[in-house]
Structure formats: structure tokens, C-alpha cells
């Protein structure tokens, strides 16, 4: 019999074992490919949706998040596929030993089993690639019908080709290892469970109660199948790592980015200015979620200066009210070349290219600023000093080492002490002390007032009184609640994050499918022994409990490892200065608990099916 015909016939005769391995490989490849295609679409979709919008600080969260998830999806898929190939060939170690005992030469032996590996992995990877493409096409169509326009991206054929090639090669390499190892081992050794199961023994003989016997058998199997268990834990840890990064990263990054916007714009904050300035300010804020560039505007028009009696009247209205008076201008900002003493390098270095750009320059009184920006460095401390805080987009555009450089505005040099994430004018903004700005520009008086309302007060009542006071002073001035713009900005971020959160959801589905494949394989490995347990008095539900307990032990172990590494990665690498509230923690915990329940529930399905099989069928070899 030729090597090929023997191998094919052997595979066909072991229908159950062969189909389980092909199904497992297919599920791994299909879900990985689908997730990669989907992640690419989300990444593309988000960059097309956010083009010309978002500040560099915000955009800086999305891209690394999707990139990291894409890498993790690939790694988790590769680990699972390698594991499946390894398990498949490990199950054949006894056969290899038998054939060696019967005198089959090593090279022929290798040929037989390598051909089997080749056929099965090729079939699994091919079916997986086809199903992955079908899943992607189907989901695209469904989401398109649901109104998610981001999925309109041309299909990239290179991704499926690359995935097929890489995973096929990985399966072959990892699957070959047990064949080579078994072919080198003495035949008698390959018959021993100590070799093919990696069996090890814990000391002592402990008798347990009836209720404990199920758990004891499950624990014993998990512990004694040490090598298989370790590999399973590594695989599932990779999957839970991916889910944790996706879920925790998504929720923390989503919450953090929204808090940045809320801190920068201000909740329950009123904008008071001349109606032209109000419209211009709204336009500047809307650039964050609608894009575009603001038109030329003459901020220095005398009509726009806030009348001093308006400020007095507002103070009389409520003595505890904090009024944040600002002078908003548009000025050229120039980076100053020079030699600095680098605090990180502890050496002098030459910085600056004399880059120049137009920026919104805002003079503020540091003592009455209402905003709470996400800030690198510090905010302005004293009104008289020549210090500046620049927006994130401006910092990226003009500076190499912003916090150690200087800028020049209207001939005055300012030391950059902070970089803030600010949606205003899409981060193209510079904050300087109000009095300094008034001195260098000659514009006397602020043109914008910000007032923070006490959320416990009757908002409409307070708003009406402030409005009346402002109109009474000058009818051309108006009061605009910034909550409207803030809500639009937050909705825009919500849309982006809800789109990204498809990834963890689908990752969870993929992980569940992968786990079903894994449990099917492990049941197939233990089916005869479980059948014997039933023949000697174990009820079907006891067998079900044993298999479920095994899954749960492996799952919980992997869960702990995956979540630990996932959380560290999320907090240390993915999101800097993360905002983690109690609600975020509860939300993440809820998601991760759901992930555990879904994966465990899906792992039960093969166990239920197995427990229902006729006893004699379970006792015979597949």
C-alpha cells in the first residue's frame, strides 16, 4: 500500500477523530481570519470616519488599540491552531509505536503520518479560509443593512492568502514535532500513558465523599494529563488575554477619552459672548466631531469685548459663581530654536526647526479656569508669567520636545509648561496668561466668559436669570450652554467605541467556537475511559460533571492568567493616564464574567452530547 493511500484510508476510517480535528482547525482559521478582516475594516472605517476630525491625542488611542487587537487576534489564532495540530498528532503516538513494533521503517512511518498531517491541516486551513471569508461577507452585509457605513471597504485578498499560508505552515511545523519525537522513541515507551499523556502522579491515596468524587476525578485527570493541560491553559490564556485587552481596553479607553472631552469642554458650563463669537466658538468645538476648518474671524473687534459691568452684574447675581474670563484670538505661533538641558537625557541638546503655524491663542486667568484638561506637564500657575500650555495637535505639529521648548507669540516668548488634550479647534490651541496676552496684543478685556453651574441648582431658572442679566447689559450678547456641543462630541466618541466594541464581542464568539473544538478533542481523547466509568456505575450526568469540571478548571486557570496579563497590558501600554471608575470596573467585570459564562456554556455542549451517547459506543475506539 502506498504512503498516500494508507494515510487517506486511515483518516477515512477514523471519521470521528478526523472530522473533529478538521472542524477544530476550520473553526480556528475561520474565526481568526474573520476577526482580522473585520478589525481591518473597523480600523479603515474609523480612520475614514475620523479623517480631519479628532485631535492627535484622541486619534492616538484608537490606532494602537486596533493594531494591538489585530496582533493579539493573530497570535491567539496561531497558538490555537498549533495546539490543535499538536493534539491531533499526539493522539497518534500509540499508532506510531505499534507500527514501529511491527517493523515499519522510520522514514516510511514519518511519510504515513506526515501525509495525514498534510491532508488534515490543508483541509482545515482551506475550509477555515473559505468560511472566514463567508463570515466576513455575511457580517458586512448585515452591518451594512443596519446602517454601519464603515464596512464599505474593498475586500483585500492578500489577508486570506497570508493567513492560509502562515497557519498551514505553523500547523505542519507544530504537528510534525510529536511525529518526529515518537518516531525516535522506543516503541514500548510510546504505548505508555506516561509518554503520550505526559502522566504524572500526586502522592498518596485519598478517599473522597460521593459528592467529591466527580471533582476528584476531574482534578486528577487535569493534573495528571500535565502536558496537555499546560498547552490548553496556554491557548486559552491567549484567548482570554485577547478578550481582556479588547473589553477592558475598549471600555477604559472609551471612558477615558470621553472624560477628556468632558473635562476639556466642561459639563454644565455656559458660554457667554457676543453672538458672533458664540457661533465661532461653537464652530471651533464642532471641528472635533464634524471636521473642517474654521473660517477667518476677527476676534479683536471692539464689539466683542465683554462689558465690565456685565461681569459685575453676574457676580451680583450669585456671589459664589466662578467666572472664567478669556480672551480668544488667532495668532501665528512660532517654535523657537535653542539649546535645552534635556531632563530625561541629562544633556544639552539642540531643539527646534523654527516651525510656525496659526493657532487659536486663549488668554486665561489661571486661578479661575473651569476646565479640567487631560494634561502632560502642568497648567499655568501665575497670571503674569510667560508660560504657555499648548493643545495636543499643535504640540505634535510644531514641536519635537514640546515640554522643554519655547514658543513666540506676537514677539513674546513663552515656555511651554503643559500639553493638553482639547477638542477646541481640534487641539490647535495655545493657552497663555490673560494679562500677558492683553499686554502683548493690546486687546484690553476678555471676549468670552465661561460660567460653571451648580448641578444641584435649578438649571433652567439659573439659565433664565443669567440670560436676562446678559441681555439687559447688551442684547447682542448671548448665553449658550456647552452641554449641547459636549453631548455631540460624546455621541461621536460613543459611535467610534461602539463600532470598535464589535471586536471583543466577535472575539468572544470566536473563542467559544475554539473552545468547543478543544473540548471535543479532549473528550475524544478520554472517551473510552469515560465509557468505562459509566459501565462501572457513573451516571451520564456524573460523566457530564467530570468533563464540565475539567473544562472549568482549565478555563478558570486560563481566565486568571489571561485577565492578569490583559489588565497589565491595558493599563501600562494601551491607555496612558487611564480613567478607571467604579462603574468601569463593574462594567469590565460584567463583560469578563459574561465571557467566562459564554465560553463555559459553549464548552458544555460537547459534554452534553457525549453524556447522551449510548454507553457501548463511548466504550469503543473512534
Amino acid at each position: 500500500m502506498s504512503e498516500t493511500s494508507f494515510s487517506i484510508n486511515d483518516l477515512l476510517r477514523r471519521k470521528l477523530q478526523t472530522s473533529l480535528v478538521i472542524i477544530s482547525l476550520t473553526l480556528c482559521v475561520a474565526s481568526t481570519l474573520f476577526l482580522l478582516l473585520f478589525a481591518q475594516k473597523i480600523g479603515f472605517g474609523i480612520s475614514s470616519v475620523t479623517e480631519g476630525k479628532l485631535t492627535s491625542g484622541f486619534a492616538g488611542i484608537f490606532s494602537p488599540f486596533i493594531t494591538l487587537l489585530t496582533i493579539l487576534i493573530f497570535v491567539a489564532g496561531a497558538v490555537m491552531i498549533s495546539f490543535t495540530a499538536f493534539i491531533m498528532m499526539s493522539q497518534k503516538i500509540k499508532d506510531i509505536g505499534l507500527m514501529k513494533s511491527a517493523g515499519c521503517p522510520n522514514e516510511m512511518l514519518f511519510g504515513y503520518f506526515f501525509t495525514q498531517l498534510l491532508v488534515v491541516t490543508f483541509a482545515g486551513c482551506l475550509f477555515g479560509t473559505i468560511i472566514g471569508i463567508v463570515m466576513d461577507t455575511a457580517s458586512t452585509s448585515v452591518l451594512d443593512n443596519l446602517g454601519f457605513q464603515f464596512v464599505q471597504q474593498p475586500f483585500n485578498l492578500w489577508i486570506p492568502i497570508a493567513i492560509f499560508g502562515i497557519f498551514f505552515a505553523l500547523s505542519l511545523i507544530l504537528g510534525t514535532a510529536p511525529i518526529v519525537s515518537a518516531a525516535k522513541a522506543k516503541p514500548a515507551r510510546t504505548f505508555s500513558p506516561a509518554y503520550y499523556l505526559g502522566l504524572s502522579k500526586e502522592p498518596g491515596f485519598n478517599v473522597v465523599s460521593k459528592s467529591g468524587v466527580t471533582l476528584k476525578i476531574a482534578v486528577r485527570t487535569v493534573v495528571r494529563h500535565k502536558s496537555a493541560t499546560i498547552r490548553a491553559v496556554v491557548c486559552l490564556s491567549a484567548v482570554f488575554f485577547l478578550i481582556t485587552v479588547a473589553v477592558a481596553g475598549g471600555l477604559i479607553a472609551g471612558g477615558t477619552s470621553k472624560s477628556w472631552v468632558e473635562g476639556a469642554v466642561g459639563r454644565n458650563t455656559l458660554l457667554i459672548a457676543h453672538q458672533d463669537v458664540v457661533n465661532q466658538y461653537k464652530l471651533l468645538l464642532s471641528e472635533f466631531y464634524e471636521g473642517g476648518n474654521s473660517t477667518q474671524f476677527n476676534y479683536t473687534d471692539d464689539r466683542y469685548i465683554i462689558p465690565p459691568n456685565m461681569i459685575n452684574q453676574l457676580h451680583i447675581l450669585n456671589e459664589n459663581m466662578t467666572i472664567d474670563a478669556r480672551l480668544v484670538l488667532e495668532e501665528p505661533v512660532k517654535e523657537i530654536q535653542g539649546i535645552i538641558f534635556g531632563s530625561s537625557t541629562a544633556q544639552t541638546q539642540y531643539v527646534g526647526d523654527s516651525r510656525q503655524g496659526q493657532s487659536l491663542v486663549i488668554g486665561v486667568d489661571p486661578d479661575s479656569v473651569l476646565n479640567n484638561w487631560s494634561l502632560a506637564g502642568t497648567f499655568l500657575e501665575e497670571n503674569q508669567r510667560s508660560e504657555a500650555v499648548v493643545g495636543d495637535s499643535l504640540a505634535q505639529r510644531l514641536f519635537s520636545v514640546p515640554l522643554e521648548q519655547k514658543i513666540r507669540i506676537s514677539g513674546q516668548d513663552f515656555s511651554v509648561v503643559g500639553v493638553c488634550v482639547d477638542p477646541l479647534n481640534n487641539g490647535n490651541v495655545t493657552y497663555v496668561p490673560l494679562s500677558t496676552l492683553e499686554n502683548i496684543t493690546g486687546v484690553l478685556g476678555p471676549n468670552v466668559l465661561m460660567i460653571k453651574l451648580d448641578p444641584s441648582a435649578n438649571m433652567s431658572d439659573v439659565l433664565n436669570r443669567i440670560n436676562a442679566t446678559v441681555r439687559a447689559t447688551n442684547p447682542d450678547f448671548e448665553v449658550y450652554p456647552l452641554n449641547n456641543v459636549l453631548d455631540k462630541s460624546l455621541s461621536f466618541l460613543d459611535f467610534i467605541w461602539s463600532t470598535i466594541m464589535f471586536l471583543p464581542l466577535l472575539t468572544l464568539v470566536a473563542a467559544s467556537l475554539i473552545l468547543v473544538g478543544y473540548v471535543m478533542l479532549t473528550i475524544s481523547e478520554q472517551r473510552q475511559e469515560l465509557g468505562v466509568l459509566r459501565a462501572l456505575g457513573a451516571r451520564p450526568r456524573t460523566v457530564f460533571s467530570i468533563v464540565s469540571a475539567q473544562s472549568l478548571i482549565v478555563l478558570l486557570g486560563s481566565y486568571a492568567i489571561g485577565i492578569a496579563f490583559g489588565t497589565i497590558t491595558t493599563l501600562l501600554i494601551l491607555v496612558q493616564n487611564p480613567l478607571v471608575t467604579t462603574y468601569t470596573v463593574i462594567e469590565i467585570a460584567g463583560w469578563l464574567l459574561l465571557a467566562l459564562i459564554v465560553t463555559f456554556a459553549s464548552s458544555i455542549y460537547p459534554a452534553v452530547r457525549f453524556a447522551k451517547k449510548p454507553l457501548l459506543e463511548t466504550m469503543t475506539q473512534p
Binding site: 506516561a194 467529591g212 476528584k216 485527570t221 475511559e529 462501572l536 449510548p614 457501548l616
Partner: protein, 229 residues
Amino acid sequence: MEETKAVVSASSLTKVYGKNDTKVEVLKDIYLDVKKGEFAVIGGPSGSGKTTLLNLIGGIDKPTSGRIIVFGEDLEAKNEDFLASFRCHKIGFVFQSYNLVSTLTVAENVAFPMEWAGRTENHVRERVGELMGLVGLQNRSEHFPFQLSGGEQQRVAFARALANDPPLLLIDEPTGNLDVKTSTRIIQILAALKGEGKTIIVATHDEHISALAHQKLHLEDGRLTSENE
């Protein structure tokens, strides 16, 4: 032996495997009665259906037609939970290929039917020690099955079958793969069990075991005949 009610009673029992071209009628119209305390031996060539008949008696498999009553219970009508509990308490199985659980030690293999039956820790410990002594494997209790010889594994299978002190033993080819010395040991154990008054059904070719039988049966081409007649 006194006349008592049948422990095992089969009537018009048939078992068919496969369909159409691959259909094999393994058991044909079998009638069988084994009384309490009786030692019955089923002989016959390989593939004659001896193991299938033992599986039907033990509720591991279900007949295609006919009835099988064991300890007054119609096994065909019972669900899997009942059958599992029934096997655990009433039947001791010794399989032809031993079927020891490879991930359990010798002592654990003997202990687990008792653990399922809810026996106390002291009882399980004492019984494991007693059974290890009976089969002469006191010094191998911490070994795994793969560390034992075929004869030793067969003796562990006997010890496991006796763990819950079942009234009925179903034993499939107990000496088929063993040397003369080990076979003699197994036959001594069977003789001792017969002396204890257990109901025993053994599928075997071994003349020495047949010599112990109250009832000798022969299975060939799916039909069961009595050699006593």
C-alpha cells in the same frame, strides 16, 4: 444447589448490529436463566456473541428484541441513571481488556466504584486493603495500570469488580491473555467467589473454569445451547 428465583432471565433475546448489507445478527432468540448463587459458563468460538450477551445482561447495551430481566428488573425499560446505579450496586464487571482507568492508580481504580456508592472513607480504605490482599497486589496499590503486567491488571479488574460486593459478577475471558500461573491464581479467586455464593457468569474457553460451573452454555452462530442437557 437449592432452587431459587432466577437472577438473570432472558427470553427471545436478539441483537442485530448494522443495517442492510452490513447487518449482522449477533444473538438469535436467546433464552437464559441463571439462578442465585449459580456459576454459569458461556463457551463458544470467538465472535460468537459472548461479550454482547454479557453487555446485555449488564445493561451496557440494549437488545434489538426480546426481554432481559436481572434481579427482577426489566433492563430494556430502564433509563441510563437507573442502569448506572444498578451496575454500581448489583453487578461487578471484569472486561476482557481489563479497562482500567489509565489516569488512576491501582488503589484508586478499586476505590472509585465505592466512592460513587457513597461508602465511608474508613470502609473504602479497609475494603481496598482487603481486596488488594485477595488478589495479591498489596505492594502495587500506588502504581498506575500501565506499570503492571497483564495478569496483574486482570487481578486489579477483579478487585474493582468486587469493590461494592455485588451479588452478580459478569466476567469476560478472565484467563484469555494470561500465563498458566496467573490463570491458576484467577481460577482460585473464581472458586473462592463461587464458595461465597455469588452469582457468576463467565464467558470463557478455559476448561478449568468450565469445570467450576453449575451451568455450561455454548454460544455459536448467535444461538445459545446448554451443555448440561
